[in-house]
Amino acid sequence: MEITYLEAIRQALWEEMDRDERVFMLGEDIGVYGGAFKITKGFYEKFGPERVIDTPLSESAFVGAAIGAALMGMRPIVEMQFADFIACAFDQIVNMAAKHHYRIGEPVPLVIRAPYGGGIGAGPYHSQCPEAWFFHVAGLKLVAPSTPRDAKGLLKASIRDPNPVIYFEHKYLYRHVKGEVPDGDHLVPIGKAEIKRQGSTVSVITYGAMVHHSLKAAEQLMPEGIDLEVVDLRTLQPMDFETIMASVEKTGRAMVVHEAPKTGGIGGEIAARLAEEAFRCLDAPIFRVASPHSPVPFSPVLEEAYLPNADKIALKARELARF
């Protein structure tokens, strides 16, 4: 049966809460209300107020509290109402959670769910893609699934991971994407990319909502004889560079696509590594398709111009294929 991306997240949470008593959730309006996106609807009724905790409006405190509970052997899952507000808990994440294991040697098993991304007409404060802020911070794992299957499997893996994991769930995908999810205790390992489409002309390295736009671009380009390979990173940190390399070795052409602004985005790291490690097998420059260097504009007219999409990806891929 096909389920939505949102339902996949819900199932992962439900199963893990059910499986392991140490797992509990905290965040704003996740209890009776079921969360701003209704992901935890029914959890309060099933698991009770002690394991589905409505917190005061204080991101730094509840992330900090999750760290403390994790240190005591619990498995907290924090919901940010929107990823944009993770900025309010930045210090706890980068200074406390990320560095603790290296310094003290104690694990901090913690998941922060960050509903991120644009394309929903929500403007500068409800659309940001903040993954690059954390990509530079050692000690954090970053996960960003694109399909219900990965969303479920990676969330379950994140909850079982002994490290702080930021789980970037794309708001646009919540209800826009459906797919099959294997029955049973379905896990997707952290740190493994997946080729979402085999191709021979250009490797498109991407993640999140842009996987779908890239796949659409690939369909557009097929009639032109341009055959994109779509590499879905799935995990951003640690990054599965082996899979990226194997794809680029095959195609000789690479482009990175992400929704976050290009400047300082994760695509820079990927392109830089390719420019160093895959220099000999590159037949063309490495392109990046990403948002420009500005806040996410509110107006749909502006946001449309701002966000990458299948057309923009196809345009660049065509250019690259012809190089």
């Binding site: 309006d29 005061p56 405190a61 929500a122 509110f298 749909p300 449309e304 701002y306």
Partner: protein, 324 residues
């Protein structure tokens, strides 16, 4: 209603802005239901007296740092219905030219710090406005609004503490509307009054009936005059009720119906209208005249907004940085 020596014109001005706020927001709700609004809709119905009462206590060159429930204060500071609706329709003529939406707008020239989403973020910013006034020996004050939920954030604490230590001319004004999204007060704080929090900073904290526009006005006026005299900041809490969902997508089924019924009886506009009528400041014909004027203004604003152009995608990257 506390008796105050307010000239009828002033009282009618307050009445006008209360009604304008309510009217504009009702119109926005209607547009929202018709799918003509871009994005979400944040309504201050039932708590207009806090915004209007507060703003009415300020001088023209004072500054406000509003929340998402302060349309009344923004209007009193000079935001026009046309600008407001063009903003909700994400037009080029909106206050942010489509770059931001709904209640995220401001204009420092008119003394309004643009609201941003992260709750309580404007409280430190307002403190800095007060600091500028103090450094320049200006007798101006800044009114910084926040919700009960926002009072849980670190920025609330840091801002109030900084303002108190530096004796800055800031009035921190709380819409205690019983809820932060779905979260009721008792899950937000373990004190009865948000004003209790003032004790942590050594500043006066008062709780007023937030649905009594003149009570709000006089509390804020007192705080403002203290601030203007160098007496430092105050906290004014208005007890009120959020009469609709957090935003219009939210049916607020988590709010007990009886609670809403109770508060509906205390509607701040009805109460003020009754007061004006008993004071013989308002009668049917005057009320009708104002009502007609408001309708015209609002409908003109709707037409203006709807006929305004959308932003031009070619301007997308204009203004990311200020040029020297």
């Amino acid at each position: 209603m506390p008796t105050q020596d307010l000239a009828p014109a002033k009282l009618l001005r307050i009445y006008y802005y209360l009604k304008l706020t309510r009217g504009l927001e009702q119109r926005v709700i209607a547009l929202y239901r018709q799918g003509r609004i871009t994005g979400g809709v944040y309504i201050s119905a039932g708590e207009e007296a806090i915004a209007v009462g507060s703003a009415s206590a300020l001088e023209p060159d004072d500054v406000i740092a509003p929340t998402h429930r302060d349309l009344g204060a923004n209007l009193m500071k000079g935001i026009t219905p046309k600008e407001y609706l063009a903003q909700y329709l994400a037009r080029q003529t909106g206050l942010t030219r489509g770059r931001d939406g709904n209640v995220h707008y401001g204009d420092i020239k008119r003394g309004i710090i643009g609201f941003i989403s992260p709750m309580a973020d404007l409280l430190p910013v307002a403190t800095g406005v007060g600091l500028a006034f103090k450094l320049r020996r200006e007798r101006r004050v800044v009114a910084a609004f926040f919700g009960d939920g926002a009072s849980s954030r670190g920025d609330f604490h840091e801002a109030l503490n900084l303002a108190a230590v530096m004796k800055l001319p800031v009035i921190f004004i709380c819409h205690n509307n019983q809820y932060a999204y779905s979260t009721p007060l008792e899950r937000q704080m373990a004190v009865e009054h948000v004003a209790d929090r003032a004790k942590a900073y050594g500043m006066p904290g008062v709780t007023v009936d937030g649905n009594d526009v003149l009570a709000v006005r006089s509390a804020v006026a007192l705080a403002a005059s203290q601030a203007r005299e160098g007496g430092g900041p105050s906290l004014v809490e208005g007890k009120t009720m959020r009469m609709r969902g957090h935003a219009e997508h939210d049916d607020a089924s988590y709010v007990p119906a009886a609670m809403l019924d109770e508060w509906r009886k205390r509607d701040p506009i009805d109460r003020f209208e009754t007061y004006l009528r008993t004071q013989k400041i308002l009668d049917d014909s005057a009320a009708k005249e104002i009502g007609d004027r408001l309708s015209t203004e609002i409908e003109e604003a709707v037409s203006y907004a709807e006929s305004s152009p959308l932003p031009d995608a070619r301007d997308l990257l204009e203004g990311v940085y200020a040029s020297p």
